[in-house]
Assembly symmetry: C2
Homo-oligomer: 338 residues x 2
DNA sequence: CTGTTAGCGCGTTCAT
DNA sequence: ATGAACGCGCTAACAG
């Protein structure tokens, strides 16, 4: 292993000078800087991360706590991870992956062993047992998702209330006088993820504002049988002018299929709006009008806040909860405005 | 921050004794061991990862290099990541995530900065520029995927030749006298991922063994238009007794849909076998008979080998390339054997 | 502008 | 069975 001492010897300077050239924390004459940089290149020197962390109390690592669940909307996880990793690298940090099934222990380990400088925690439940633990850590923690009580932690999430409003507004504009929300997945409802309620609140408020009815069919398993039962119930309750919202990414396709199976064609006979990524919306046949959750925007903003929190100099963001506005894209499953 | 010195003071022993209690690398009297463990608990002491890495030359971290691609079969990535993370934790290691778009630089960084003890690299191309770099690192590297030349590195992958054979065997048994392989995604073909060829070889060999014809429609974009064109071509070329194989996870659903749209019902009129995860196969309507790639088995085996490579004591595995046998599951899209 | 020096917290050898 | 002491490679305060 080549150390900064080796570099110093080759460059004919002291070891600390090498360190200062790398950190730029004090001015170095152009000439010695060049000698050092040449030596670094010649030896392909790279600083030892452990030694650096020990001396500087900075690991240059972001801990990322994710929950892998079988089946569920786990597909939507990758854009988050990818964006977070990208943002981290852009700030010369790496990402240490920790799974949520370690629970609070994962958090205390990350902080207690000084494995990372900050933590991003995803998939937050409304009453999440990890929150108080996270808030007591000696590293900043940022939540993607909004718990009932964030205990002073910063949160970033999609504005689900706005998503509900967007969908209902669109259906109202398309002339529907009734909206059925075919609900979230059973496990999501059970785990009491906050966004279920927030979405519902937004949708209900919008329906009231438009003076149209809103029914809820929930929960809905994201499979064939679940979708068929839900569609049957949804159609039974309403008439021709019913619009359907599916705020459950993996259920969108089955619901669409169930409608088609019954000879009800979204975009011709009825309107269907899904809450899912654009990729998923475009992949289905016909392409589903969707409200996109913009995982990349959420992640980017989260990392922005996180690095501001890490900047000792910078001023910290005042707003604790930040909601990213979703975007509705009209595709083939909604009726045009009359 | 509480250090091992603090623990030592509270326990009334020397710092080195604390270290030895934790590592178990020398015998400690039951009494002092207890005193130390009590102190550790009382202070909730956790060893500093950087200091430990510096002193022991071991980071307890596995570097994981993954490629996030937009759209593609990126969904299949999560089971790998999840399983790898789980196996790592089971051996008291953590996982540092690095994206493939750093290329070789990511590898040299991981090893050069001593960020990890070993590396798992996924999504290997047939002629992957990173292989020689990886082989020269001072840490063991394990490939998930098989390049043309692994440069002495250990590889684990699905036995794609066997997958091709399994699918064709099944179609032959179902009485089909012709097989059409609706190919891989364009980007996969273009990047020359090795498994395309391996699958093809296995399928061709099996077809010859059964004395039945085999046609290839390739590449196929995993969208509606791509699938429809492919299906049209596939049906045009063959007769009633044609069996279809789709070795392209995201294209399975569109191909199925395209068949149904033409009034051709798999399981009644024709046989369709997909190369995809069981979850994906079960989700579609009707459920697709599939050859599963068993990402969890592959990952588990990969980590098994990796940790054996890390064990200085243990004997290293002799076999360089290890192929995991896939499994065919009959569902609703294949005809019964006559 | 540069060199010297003192830790950072832990693993491990040497001494007892 | 235990303690003292050294060094891992680097940052940063101090001294010039």
């Amino acid at each position: 292993m080549v150390t900064s001492r080796d570099v110093a010897r080759v460059a004919g300077v002291s070891q600390s000078t090498v360190s200062y050239v790398m950190s730029g924390r004090r001015s170095i004459s152009a000439e010695t800087r060049k000698r050092v940089l040449d030596a670094i290149e010649q030896l392909t020197y790279q600083p030892n991360a452990g030694a650096r962390a020990l001396a500087s109390q900075r690991t240059q690592v972001i801990g990322l706590v994710v929950r892998f669940r079988p089946g569920a909307d786990t597909t939507g996880l990758l854009p988050f991870i990818e964006t977070i990793a990208g943002c981290a690298r852009a700030e010369d940090h790496d990402v240490l992956l920790v799974t949520a099934d370690e629970g609070s222990a994962g958090l205390t380990r990350l902080a207690g062993r000084a494995l990372c400088d900050a933590i991003v925690m995803m998939d937050i439940e409304a009453d999440d047992a990890r929150i108080p633990v996270a808030a007591a850590l000696r590293v900043p923690v940022l939540l993607i998702g909004v718990p009932d009580d964030s205990a002073g932690l910063h949160c970033v999430d999609v504005d689900f209330a706005d998503a509900g409003r967007l969908a209902v507004d669109e259906l109202a504009a398309a002339g529907h006088d009734r909206v059925v929300v075919i609900g979230h997945a059973p496990d999501v409802v059970e785990r009491d993820i906050n966004f279920v309620r927030r979405f519902q609140r937004g949708a209900t408020a919008a329906a009231e504002a438009h003076g149209i009815g809103l029914d809820l069919v929930s929960p809905v398993p994201p499979d064939r049988a679940g979708a068929e039962a839900a569609v049957r119930e949804a159609l039974a309750r309403g008439g021709d002018r019913t619009g359907i919202v599916v705020p459950n990414s993996p259920a969108v396709q089955p619901v669409l299929q169930a409608l088609l199976d019954r000879g009800v064609v979204p975009g011709r006979d009825i309107s269907l709006i899904g809450l899912c990524t654009d990729v998923a919306a475009e992949a289905s046949t016909p392409a589903v009008t969707n409200v996109s959750l913009e995982p990349r925007d959420v992640s980017r903003r989260a990392m922005e806040i996180l690095f501001r929190l890490l900047d000792r100099s910078g001023d910290r963001p005042t707003q604790l909860v930040e909601l990213i506005r979703p975007r509705l894209t009209r595709r083939e499953t909604t009726l045009p405005a009359p």
